[in-house]
């Protein structure tokens, strides 16, 4: 009898303890919230590394910066036109050397302190003094930045330049928080918890590897967002983030590949909204053209004729169709076609198309002949064969798909390549060590052409330059466009620079990829593409963040996340306990039976 009672009563005890727990839990969730929190959940495939704007690495961090910090100027939602954000007014002097910015009088940090001209000056000086490369571009030619009073900033430059008027670069951090630290402390500053922000949201919770959560401010000068909180959830694979969207655990995600995007398109469009957004990036094939004794580049890649022949040999349209499944545009110059004012598209008679015969003819003519008949050309006059290394990053899935195509087309013109993919950091090692021939990589490009054009100037070798291309005439034009305030004149120079790059080909622009976004169309409305009509829907888009609103009575991501109801867990647990009790019971009884 003793053996009979014990296990059963334990089972009963466990079950009753569990039901007390459920009762409590039920009571908790039943207690009505004063008002429902409106949560927008974004699925991401990369973790947040830092909330410190000086440590931002990719768009995950820069989106956080966008949400937390407003700039003095911004790019308008419809057409990227420059417009004031934290400013009430701004003007340029006749000579273009003095800029006066007046801050609004109703702007505050999320801790209630006013945003002042001193904050701006402190941030600018910190960036310039410490040469924070991700931000210092916005302060070139600065002679002095001064706070004239609480709200007025006077920015003088050494030469006529547009730089102070370029939105997107300027950052303002609260001096009363950041100004109390040493530069080293600032570099290691987590900026969490107690993040003090100027933008509509501030970071309140962050679990590395899991999620981070931002809450809307209720005192935001542009009006309170209709989203109360934005949660970024980390998913470890592209596959699972797509599953999470279909299931409804998240409200939005950037879709990393065309294959997954097409699968989402097959879902009911009333549930899952999808958008192909215009390219603000390009993929390129770079040549190591550096003039440096430590370079290990194959001599043939230094020859512009060879590079042009390579360009004739590549079928960009096929790459767009086969690698990008049609979600891209064949590439020409580093300024993407979306910025049509600046982009130069080569006219038909100047365009380098797909013509292997022409490529072979050029190489023959230049003396690169296959003298030993092994299918691979040698340097003029015999000698080293044209056997190149093609490097790319393991994270670059499109590049990895494209590389075999490139290899095949180069083989058709008698150039052998060996493909090697490696981690980003290893790739940078090779890259900055000038230890490579070809690299396939990509760039994201902003609306103003200055930055991407600067990456081809000789001064950027070892910094932003992919190829260490060096052309004094190009450098001269670059400086000239920087001080040309008239848009049409500047456009003419920018076009000339693109023509130069298209002719010298330090890198071949392969394609402009589209981006994919998908979201729960059954729950949310009010997204504002930036710019109209095919710009980004939500990712990094402050206008959609402020304007997105829930469709009334739609289910939320939190509900989809709940999983199995408690009852099933309790039932399951009771079943297991019961089974164990049963087995033990039977054994005991049998023991008793035998013992008897």
């Amino acid at each position: 009898m003793r053996g009979l009672r014990t296990p059963l009563s334990i089972g009963v005890l466990i079950c009753s303890v569990m039901s007390i727990g459920v009762g409590v839990a039920g009571a908790q969730s039943a207690s009505p919230d004063a008002e429902e929190t409106v949560t927008f959940t974004v699925g991401v495939t990369g973790d947040l590394n830092s909330a410190n704007p000086f440590r931002q690495i990719d768009t995950t961090e820069s989106f956080l910066t966008t949400l937390m910090y407003d700039g003095i100027l911004r790019l308008g939602q419809e057409d990227y036109a420059t417009e004031p954000e934290l400013l009430e007014s701004w003007e340029t002097s006749e000579d273009g050397l003095t800029w006066t910015f007046v801050l609004r009088d109703d702007i505050t940090w999320s801790d209630g302190e006013p945003i002042t001209a001193d904050d701006f000056v402190w941030t600018a000086e910190f960036i310039m003094d410490n040469d924070i490369s991700s931000w210092s571009d916005g302060y070139r030619f600065t002679k002095n930045i001064e706070a004239v009073d609480e709200r007025t900033i006077v920015w003088t430059t050494t030469r006529t330049t547009l730089v102070p008027g370029l939105p997107g670069y300027s950052l303002i951090l609260p001096e009363h928080i950041w100004g109390t630290m040493t530069p080293k402390e600032i570099r290691n500053f987590r900026n969490f918890p107690d993040t003090v922000a100027s933008g509509p949201f501030h970071l309140v919770e962050w679990e590395p590897g899991e999620f981070w959560r931002l809450e809307a401010r209720d005192d935001y000068y542009q009006g309170q967002p209709q989203i109360d909180e934005i949660v970024f959830r980390v998913y470890n694979s592209p596959e699972s983030v797509v599953q999470a969207l279909i299931k409804g655990e998240i409200d939005h995600t950037v879709v990393p590949s065309a294959g997954l995007f097409e699968r989402l398109q097959a879902e009911d469009p009333d549930e899952i909204g999808t958008a192909v957004t215009s390219a603000e990036a390009f993929h390129q094939l770079s040549f190591n053209v550096v003039d440096d004794p430590s370079s290990t580049a194959h001599p043939a890649v230094l020859d512009a004729v060879v590079r042009e022949a390579v360009s004739w040999a590549l079928d960009k349209q096929t790459m767009v169709d086969r690698v990008m499944r049609g979600y891209a545009v064949p590439g020409t110059t580093p300024i993407v076609p979306l910025y049509d004012f600046w982009h130069w598209e080569p006219p038909a008679e100047e365009a380098v198309g797909f013509d292997p015969a022409e490529a072979n003819r050029m190489l023959d003519e230049a003396g690169y002949l296959d003298t030993d008949d092994d299918g691979v050309r040698e340097m003029p006059g015999g000698g080293e064969s044209l056997d190149w290394r093609l490097f790319l990053a393991t994270t670059d899935s499109d590049g990895i798909k494209a590389a075999p195509f490139v290899q095949g087309w180069l083989r058709d013109i008698g150039i052998e390549t060996s493909i090697r993919s490696m981690t980003d950091s290893k790739l940078y090692d090779q890259w900055y060590g000038f230890d490579w021939d070809l690299i396939v990589y990509s760039w994201g490009v902003g609306p103003d052409p200055d930055f991407i054009l600067s990456s081809f100037t000789s001064g950027q070798c070892g910094y932003w330059s992919d190829t260490c291309y060096s052309n004094p005439e190009y450098d001269r034009l670059y400086k000239e466009q920087q001080v040309t305030l008239d848009p049409d004149e500047r456009q003419a120079i920018v076009v000339e620079m693109q023509q130069m790059l298209y002719r010298d080909l330090p890198e071949i622009v392969l394609w402009y990829p589209n981006s994919f976004e998908a979201w729960r169309a059954d729950r949310w409305e009010g997204f504002l593409p930036w710019p109209e009509p095919d710009g980004v829907v939500f990712w990094g888009n402050p206008y959609s963040v402020l304007n997105a609103r829930p469709i009334v009575d739609a289910p939320t991501s939190a509900e989809a996340d709940s999983g199995l109801p408690a009852v099933i867990w309790i039932g399951g647990a009771a079943l297991v306990v019961g089974a164990i009790a049963g087995v033990v019971l039977m054994r005991r009884r049998r023991d008793e039976h035998y013992a008897a």
């Binding site: 959940t41 980390v234 599953q243 981690t423 090692d429 989809a560 709940s562 999983g563 867990w569």
Partner: protein, 326 residues
């Protein structure tokens, strides 16, 4: 007396191995081809001035002689000070490790217990009634899952039970809302853990099943079993008292090793289910060459294996006194 000598010898061996691991860990990361300073600063478009590089070299202690670096490393290791993580700037390696430790221990630990208990039980039952439906069924079932790639099984379970049926969340450690507490939080964590645990358990039952089954079959063929049976001891007792006890011995070291490997995480499972565990952290660390973090992860993982082996040795000697004499 001999007992304590044995324990002492084992502890000493473990201590020496630990010292060896710590030293290897030190030299391993110093013979890596990449320059750590370069690794910490590399980024597209960023190059440090020579002065800044020198300052960083000094900060990392890399300008000192190798022996003095080693002494400093030993002291730091003893204090569990592994420096700051590169992928999470401003956070110490130990705090990052602690952050990802708990989910992994919970996930892989639970699954390991389950796969061992179920696998051993089925192995015992199968071996005892060889060729019967339970044996054949267990064999087919466990081998089927054992031979499946675990990420594939994970994907199928995810699509069926999460996306299609909606019973379980598609990933993560818990729901990203801060208002859960007490029992509802436990439930939430269990909900998130169910599919990954199921995948791991199903996938590895076979290992323990086969091991236990063959070990039991060996023992059942021994003469003493025949003797016990001839004495008229009832079958149940023959199995549990006489056969299983001895058949369990070879499984102990395998079991101990499995627990030691918990700290390695389950990379593929953690990937598919977006589970924030150590396997994933290691993957991230390797991917971005966060060598301070890698160093700590390697060290902790090896220490865990070492510790569980020590436990196995001690348990073994306790169960089977013959070991002590050997």
């Amino acid at each position: 007396m001999g007992e304590w000598r044995y324990v002492g010898r084992k502890l000493l061996q473990a201590g020496v191995t630990l010292l060896f691991i710590i030293s290897v860990n030190f030299f391993l990361f110093r013979i890596m081809p990449s320059d750590p300073v370069r690794l910490l600063t590399r980024q597209r478009g960023v190059q440090l001035s020579p002065e800044a590089q020198a300052a960083l070299t000094h900060d990392l202690g890399l300008d000192r002689s190798l022996p003095s670096q080693f002494v400093k490393y030993l002291a730091d290791t003893l204090r569990l000070d592994f420096g700051d993580s590169f992928i999470y700037p401003g956070q110490s390696v130990v705090s990052v490790f602690a952050r990802f430790l708990w989910p992994t221990v919970l996930l892989v630990g639970t699954a390991t217990v389950l796969m061992i208990v179920i696998g051993l039980y089925l192995g015992i039952r199968g071996g005892w009634k060889r060729g019967r439906p339970l044996d054949v069924g267990s064999m087919g079932f466990s081998l089927l899952f054992y031979s499946m790639p675990d990420f594939w099984l994970a994907m199928i379970l995810l699509i069926v039970f999460s996306t299609a049926l909606g019973w379980f969340p598609s990933g993560g450690f818990e729901s990203p809302s801060s208002d859960l507490s007490g029992f509802s939080r436990v439930l939430d964590i269990a909900n998130h853990m169910f599919l990954p645990v199921l995948t791991l358990t199903l996938g590895y039952i076979g290992e323990y099943f086969l091991l236990m089954r063959s070990s039991l079959l060996d023992v059942l063929g021994e003469d003493y079993i025949t003797t016990v049976r001839a004495k008229g001891v009832r079958e149940d007792r023959v199995l549990w008292r006489h056969a299983v006890r001895n058949a369990l011995l070879p499984t102990i070291s395998v079991i101990a090793l499995s627990f030691g490997l918990v700290l390695g995480g389950a990379i593929t499972i953690e990937l598919v289910f977006s589970y924030p565990g150590l396997g994933l952290l290691l993957l991230q660390a390797v991917d971005s060459q966060d060598f301070l973090l890698m160093q700590a992860l390697f060290l902790f993982a090896s220490v865990a294996v070492l510790a569980s082996n020590l436990v196995a040795d001690l348990v073994y000697s306790w169960i089977d006194p013959r070991v002590r004499e050997a």
